[in-house]
Symmetry: C2
Subunit: 680 residues, 2 copies
Amino acid sequence: MSQDPLVIFTPSGKRGRFPVGTPVLTAARQLGVDLDSVCGGRGICSKCQVAPSYGDFAKHGVTVQHDALSDWNAVEERYDQKRGLKEGRRLGCQATIQGDVVIDVPPESQVHRQVVRKAASTRPIVMDPATRLYFVEVQEPDMHEPTGDLERLKRALKAQWDIPSLSTDFSTLTQLQSILRKGGWKITVALHKANNSSDHRLVAAWPGLHEGGIFGLAIDLGSTTIAAHLCDLVTGEVRASSGIMNPQIRFGEDLMSRVSYAMMNPGGAAEMTAAVRDALNTLASEIAAEAGIDPSLILEAVFVCNPVMHHLLLGIDPVELGQAPFALATSDAVDLAAPELGLSAIAPAARVHILPCIAGHVGADAAAVALAEETDTSDDLVLIVDVGTNAELLLGDKTRVLACSSPTGPAFEGAQISAGQRAAPGAIERVEIDPATKEPRFKVIGCDLWSDDPGFAEASAATGVTGICGSGIIEAVAEMRMAGLLDPSGLIGSPAQTGTPRCMPEGRTHAYLIHDATAEGGPRIAVTQGDIRAIQLAKSALYAGARLLMDEMGVETVDRVVLAGAFGAHISTKHAMVLGMIPDVALDKVTGAGNAAGHGARIALCNAAKRAEIQDTVRRITKVETAIEPRFQEHFVAANAIPHATDPFPHLAAAVPLPDVSFNTGGGGEDTGRRRRRRA
Amino acid sequence: MSQDPLVIFTPSGKRGRFPVGTPVLTAARQLGVDLDSVCGGRGICSKCQVAPSYGDFAKHGVTVQHDALSDWNAVEERYDQKRGLKEGRRLGCQATIQGDVVIDVPPESQVHRQVVRKAASTRPIVMDPATRLYFVEVQEPDMHEPTGDLERLKRALKAQWDIPSLSTDFSTLTQLQSILRKGGWKITVALHKANNSSDHRLVAAWPGLHEGGIFGLAIDLGSTTIAAHLCDLVTGEVRASSGIMNPQIRFGEDLMSRVSYAMMNPGGAAEMTAAVRDALNTLASEIAAEAGIDPSLILEAVFVCNPVMHHLLLGIDPVELGQAPFALATSDAVDLAAPELGLSAIAPAARVHILPCIAGHVGADAAAVALAEETDTSDDLVLIVDVGTNAELLLGDKTRVLACSSPTGPAFEGAQISAGQRAAPGAIERVEIDPATKEPRFKVIGCDLWSDDPGFAEASAATGVTGICGSGIIEAVAEMRMAGLLDPSGLIGSPAQTGTPRCMPEGRTHAYLIHDATAEGGPRIAVTQGDIRAIQLAKSALYAGARLLMDEMGVETVDRVVLAGAFGAHISTKHAMVLGMIPDVALDKVTGAGNAAGHGARIALCNAAKRAEIQDTVRRITKVETAIEPRFQEHFVAANAIPHATDPFPHLAAAVPLPDVSFNTGGGGEDTGRRRRRRA
C-alpha cells in the first residue's frame, strides 16, 4: 500500500503526509504553517497564494512531479483573469495535493510577515496585529428561528473562524443589518482581540469581501511635536508619516510649565487636553489624506508619550506629576475606545492602546524605546539616552534593566540659549572651529552648503541664518573646547588668552562670535558664557543620571550607548563625548537609534503580543528616582567639567586630543557652574 | 482539652466552631453566612450589625452565656454615640467569640436581602445587584515604587476584597487621584461586575466611606409612555417612580407608523432616537429630583421595551422589523455604557443593561414579563397576555414556554375608535348598561363618582367628559352584548330591535349613545358599528394568537390567564371574557399582573444573576410567528363573534348569561367582520 503524498512547506520546513485531494491551505493549517487567508478558502481573497517547486530536492529527499498539485481550476482561472496571478503562483485553497510536493509560502502570503525598514539600524517587525479581517457567510434570517443578525454573525464566526466570543461596538451594530443585506449575507468584519482575553470586538464591517485595507496610527506624542506613522495593518507598510506641532506649547514650552499652568488655572488641564485632542484629529485627517485613504479605515491607534502628555491626553490633571512623589494616576498600559479620547477623525469603533509608563518621570515613550531597542534581551550592557526636555535613561542587559529621568531642562533643544531657537530652517545645526585660526564655519537647516562654501549666501537666502538650535549649540561648545577657546571648567578665554578677536568681552565674561549679520540688519549669533553654563547644567544632569544608573547596576563602564530621539539623530557622537554628556565608551560603540520611541509605537501597533511583552518588561524595570538620591547631586556637581572630570575617559582621550588650557584668573565673581540644578 | 466555642447563625442555621477571639464577621464569612460589610471590618460602615441571643437553645443544643461575645468595645461605643446602634445589636466586625453563641443576622444586614413590595401579587426580589460598594485603604505612593494610583487601588481591592481584575471607566480615572488624596487614601468604590466575567469595572469613587447610597433605574420604555422606578441598589427600595410620554408619538402613534416614518424619511430613525434619548434624560433628572438624590449617584439603568423601541433606543434603523422575516439586529441582552446611549443625566460611567428580545415582534418587555411571572417554573399552564399596540403572548409551564405577538392594532388603546382617546383625565374608563332600561352610566378618569351619582357634574367639572379610552370601549362593547344591544355577530340592533332610542341610526347601521353634551358645546360619545368592528378585529387577533399557542402546545384549555401591563390593570376580567378576548377559563383564574414588564426590569436591576437566567430562558422559548401561520388566519376569522363562537366557553356561560339575540336582517351591505386583519 502506497503512502499518502509528502508535503513540505518552505521556508518553515514543516512537513506532513496528506491524502490525495487535500487542499494546500488545509495542509498548511494542520501543520501550523503561517499561510494567510481572509475569505476562509473561498478562492476570492487571494491571500493564500503559494509557489510550488518542481524537480529533485535532495535535501528534502523528494522528487516533485509536474502533476504534484491538481490542475489550475476555474476559480484560479477567473481570479487570474480579474486580478492577475503571478507566474508560478497557485491559490492555496484551490490547488489540491496529488503527489509529493515542496510548496513555498512567499512573504506576502504569511500572516506573521516581517516588515523590514530601510534604515538598517531598526529591527524588523513581525506582523501580528490586534485587528484582523475575517470574511464570513452569515445565515439568512428566518421567521421560524428569530435570532438577531448579530447572533447569526457570531455563529458564523464561531463555525467558520473558531472565534469563541464577540463583543460589539455600537457604531458598528447600527450599520450591521444594511451591510449584511448589501453583501448578500457575505460580509468582511474587522475584529480586535484584546490581550489576555479570548474576546474579539467587532470594530468594522463591509459588504462582501473588503479589499480597501485597514490601517493604524503609531503616534509619538511629544511635548513639542506630535509625529505619526500611518501603517497598513495587514502588510505593516508605512503608508504615510506626518508630524505637527503640539499646540499645548502655548500653555508652556516645557512639561513643568504645563503642569504649572494646570495648577494655576482652573480648567487649565482640560484646556490642554482639548488642544492636544484637536491636534490629533487634524493630524489623523491630514495623514489619511496624504496616504489617500478613507480615515474611517483607521481602526487602531497606539500612543507613546511622556507621563505629563499621557495624563493630559487621557484628560487627567497632571498636578501630581509636578510634585513628589510624582504619582501616576495609572502606570499600566491603557486600552480604550477612540471616542473616549475624542478622536473623531478615525473610525468611531477604533481601539486605542497607550503604552505603560515606567514611572512618574519616565514615560511610555521610554517604554517604547525599550521595546524598539530590546534592552531586556541585550547581551552587552547598553545605555539608552532619549533626550527631550527631560532626558530619559535606560541601562541594562538581559539580566536587568534600570530606568530614570534626568532634569536636563530645555537647553539641548535650543531654549535658554542666547541665540537659541527650535530646529527649523535657518537654524545653525552644525559648527566647526578651525583649531589653528579659531575661525568658525557652520551649516543651517534648509541649506546643504557650509557657510564658507562658495555660493552659501545665495543658497541660504531663502532661510537666512536665524539662530542656533540644540545640535548646533552642542557642536559649538564642543568645538570651542577642542579649539582651546574653552577650558575644562567651562570658562571662555579672553582675546588675549585665545588669540582670536572672536572671543569678545561681554560684561565680566566673554562670548565667542559665530555669525554677525548686524550690518545687514540680521542677527548676531554668539556663544555666551551663560550659554556655556546652561549646557553645562544640562549635560551634568544627563551624565549624573547615567552615572546613578551605573552605580545602581554596580558598574564603572557600559559596553555601548544608544542615542535615541530626534536629538540622537542629529548630534554628533564625538561632540557629545567631548562635552561629557555620556559615559566614556569607544566612539564606534555610540549609535543613534533614530526615533526609537516612534519605532516602538509602530512595533506595538503591528504586533499585539509585543504590547503584553513591554507591559511585562516595564513591570520588571527597576526605577531609580533622581530627585531623592543624594548621589545624583554628587554626580551632578562632579560632572560639571568639560568633559566630566571625575571619571576616566580613556576612549575619548585616545580619539580626541583636548588642549590643556585654563582661563580662570582666580579673580572675579564668575560662578564656576555650581548653581543648583532645577527641574525642567 | 475543651473544644472551640460553637457559633450558630440564624436564620440560616449555619454553624461551626471557632477559636476564642474570632470576630463574628470572620466566622460568618468562613461559614458563607450572608452578612454584609462595605468597610471590610473596620467598624465604620455598620452594615455587619448582628443580634446575639442569650439563654438556653434546646433546638440548637447550646446554652449561651452573657459573656459569649467580647465586651462592647471603643469602636462600637463611638459608632453608637455618633449614629446610634439598636438595642441588642453588635458590630459583627468588632464583637469576638468568647463562648457558644447564637447570632441572628437581621434582614437589613444581609447582602442578599429580600425586597417585598406592597402589592401582594408580585414576587419578592432577592438583592444581588451587579454594582456594589467597596471601602478600601490604598497604599500611599512612594518614589521607590512608582506604580500608578490605579494600580495600587487594584492591589488593595485584590488584597482586601479578593477582586481579581479591574477595568476602569475613564470618567472615574480622571477623578481618582484627587479622591484618594481627599480621603486620606481611604476610598469607597462602586464596582460593576458583568455577567459571565470575573472582571469588575470601576464606575464611581468617593473619598472615605461613601454613605450617600447608589441607585439604579428600571425603565419600561413603551411606545406611548416611558415609566421608570428609581431603586436603591443596596436596599432595593423604590425611592421614586415616574413616567413621561414617549415623544416619538409625534412621528407615529403606533410602532408600525414609526417604522414607516423611518422608511420614508432619511434620517427619520436618528430623529426618533434623539427624541427618546432626550426624554430619558429628562425623566432621569426628574425622578432624581423627586427622590432628592444627586443624579450622578445613578450607576445603572435596565431597559425593557418592544423590538422597535429597542432598536430606536440603540440607534438602529428599525426598517427590518417592518417587513418579513422581521429580523432583529441583535436578539441577545445588550450591555453598554450610558454615554453610548446619550444618557448624560446619570453618572458618566453608569452601565446599561437591555433585556433580550424574544423575536422580531416579541420584545424585551415580554422577556421582562416572563422574568416577573416566572412562566418557566409554573406548575400550571399559564397564558400571559400583555396588550399594547401589539399584544405579546406567552403560554407555558415549567416544561416549555411559547411566545408570539398578535397584531391587535391600537383599538384597545382607544385609537381607531370614533370617540376614542388616550387614557387621560376626562376619558370614560368604566361603563355599565342596565339590562332592563338599556341606560348607561360611566366613570371618567379623574373623578371618583359614577355619572348617575349626585354631584357628578360638579365633581367632573375639572376634567369634563372628553372621550372614551381603551378600557372604556371594551366595557361598553361587552355591556352592550350583555344588555342585548349587540348580537354575537357584532351587529348593533335598531331602536325597534333593542327597545331603546339610544341605538340611533347612523348611515346604514346604528350607534349606541353613551353621552351627549352637544347642547353645552361638548362632545357626543357613542359606540358606532365601526367601533364594534375595530374592537372585533383587535380581539380576534388577540384570541387567535392565544389559540395558535395552544395549538402549538397541543392543549384545548389553559389553567389560568394573567393580564399584564396597564391594560391588564384597568380592564375588568369579566368584560374581557364576554368579548372573547381570551380563552375560556374560570373567572377567578384570570388575574392582573400590574406592570409586569416594569417589575421584570426591577428584578433585573436588583439581581444580576436573573439577567443571565432570563437570557437563558429567552433562548429556550419557542417562538411562534403569527404572520406566516395559516392557522392564525383561521382562528382569527373564527374568533370574530362576541364571544368567540368556535370554542366552548363553559366558564363564561356559567358566570354571565348572554342574551340570545340576532339583528342580522339578511339584507344590506354590512360587512360582518371578515375584513382582513392588518398589522398595527
